[in-house]
Symmetry: C2
Subunit: 330 residues, 2 copies
DNA sequence: AACTGCTGAGAAAACGATTGCTCGCCGATG
DNA sequence: CATCGGCGAGCAATCGTTTTCTCAGCAGTT
């Protein structure tokens, strides 16, 4: 692969001039610039990224640390991130933390080491990843979940409010024993949705005892939790499910037990998906603006990278309830 | 951020010794090595990635160029890639080409410029991206789709055979007018599935005329195509759908027309998903080993990066038909 | 004609690591 | 006692850019 000196030699100028010409910097004699461009073209010259990064002390790379790309919610986020990053000439490295604080830490180390321009982080636990990043002057934007300590830029969904709303909706539809299936303790979204569920119960004047189960945010763990919930002596007549993957397990469990969503057990789940309207009855959901979250967070991060030193912000996008058949007892 | 010279100074040794000690190279006096490690630790030293990359003339980064992470099939692939890359100490940059050859080309340029160690490519069209990469000695592994020209390493699914099998299955179930909804012309998987469909028709001794529609591989475009297909003067009594996103549109279209999958129109779709068993009747699918494809391809690529110069290989994983209710007329 | 500004290009110094080469020092051998 | 061999550490070159500094040359002013 051709280097800048080869281009310089071929164009009969110095490397400095080549660099300037290629970067459209300063004023370079148009004739020379033309020669340079031509020479670069003929040699198929591509500047060496690492060299440039070393010299400029910056890279055009963002790290995106999420729990799992296979979760459609994070998939949409990552698409949003990638789109705006790409438009700005940045690349995105994808990191699956699996909600494991150790893996998260490890990825943060890599990000630091590679001197990425910024990090989009969906924090797994109460770790201090974000602080370590900021300690090294790497801009961070938290996404979907707030940072444990300290306030960095954050893009959230008012998930607690949405959970409350969904719970109230179930109550309004006549369900009385409302259960909740949420994610692991310590994961903010899981806890917030649970809190919102409790808000809703209180607002509706209901008290279900503790019809609550936790599992990982995945389908496998949720299956067991769903069965356990439905096997209560006094089982719930409606369930708020904290994400899409778990909803699949809940619906499967109901099916196995010969129970029909809506009629027998009301169901509202977080995260919309194309298939939710295909099932009978269609699944009521809390739709989250995942793509926009990714895009917004990326924009924010690029702003910080660009030297924006204004106060850190917390952007809260709103989720909205999409009531469908699975939460209508009629 | 501390540099190697600061560590060297603090430990009272040369940078060379620090480098060797930190990389566990050669023989360094254990006492010195201890001092170095301690110094590095106290300073929170992380080697500067770009500098190291420049010097070593290599990076620990793979580029993954796929059409769209929001497609669950590619999501699973990317997860497979990321897992094995991570285990090997590599990072993955994610690139969505949207099946646009220009965008693909652009990403290839970036990959070249950043001197990534290798590229996993799901080629969009009949472009020459792979050749350009190989011309610059960047290892490439094609994934899901063969390379237009030239044979580089490739990881495929025997999609044509699977389509044939699915078609025969529909025929066996008693359907007679088999239609096919596939992807854009020129996308190998789309063409292969169509070819497999035709193979199946021939093998079954059926001739449906041309009950074929093409659309992009997305839900929106597929909706129109599905309606058009079902509005034929003599509409199909079964449809082979070439991917998951399009299947959603087909099922939605059937629902709108008051037709029941299986009973009125048999349906088999490519790509399994958690929700396919939740609908009534459950959706028959051709399940593809997407995660394994990603993992396999990444392993292959890492092998090439490691200097494996043996003949290029074509790995064909097999998809398997999962017959469910949507293809039983009974 | 001498001096001042100004423009534009080249020389060379970074950036921060890795690594080939050199060299000092040690004990061992002839 | 002189030399040799080997070990371990440092010096300095190197990777390919960008960018500061310097300087040559030219035009304009007095």
């Amino acid at each position: 692969m051709a280097t800048i000196s080869e281009v310089a030699e071929r164009a009969g100028v110095s490397t400095a001039t080549v660099s300037r010409a290629l970067n459209g910097k300063d004023s370079v004699d148009p004739a020379l610039a033309g020669r340079v461009l031509a020479a670069a073209d003929e040699l198929g010259y591509r500047p060496n990224g690492p060299a440039r990064n070393l010299r400029k002390q910056e890279t055009a790379v963002l790290a995106l640390i999420i729990s799992d790309v296979e979760n459609p919610f994070f998939t949409a986020i990552s698409r949003g991130v990638e789109d705006v990053a790409h438009d700005a000439g940045y690349s995105v490295v994808l990191c699956n933390s699996d909600d494991d604080p150790d893996k998260e830490r490890e990825y943060v180390e890599v990000a630091l080491q590679e001197r990425v321009a910024g990090v989009l982080l969906s924090p797994a636990g109460r770790g201090d990843s974000a602080e370590k990043l900021r300690a090294h002057d790497t801009p961070v934007v938290a996404i979907d979940r707030p940072l444990p300590r300290s306030g960095g830029d954050t893009v959230l969904v008012d998930t607690r409010l949405a959970a409350r709303e969904a719970t109230l909706h179930l109550a309004e539809q006549g369900y009385r024993r409302l259960g909740c299936l949420t994610g692991p303790e310590g994961v903010p979204t899981a806890d917030d949705r649970l809190a919102g569920y409790r808000d809703g119960l209180r607002a509706a004047g209901l008290d279900s005892g503790e019809l609550v189960r936790r599992s990982d945010f995945k389908a496998t763990g949720a299956a067991e939790a769903a069965h356990s919930l439905l096997a209560e002596r006094q089982p719930p007549d409606a369930i708020l499910v904290a994400n899409n993957a778990m909803a699949v397990s809940v619906l499967a469990a109901l099916d196995e037990l010969g129970m029909r969503p809506g009629r027998d057990v009301g169901v509202v789940a977080f995260d919309d998906a194309p298939w939710t309207v295909l099932i009978d009855p269609p699944l009521s959901v809390v739709a989250q603006p995942a793509y926009d979250m990714g895009a917004t967070a990326a924009q924010l991060l690029l702003g910080r990278i660009g030297g924006d030193h204004t106060e850190t912000t917390v952007t809260t996008l709103s989720a909205h309830l999409v009531p469908r058949g699975s939460s209508r007892s009629g």
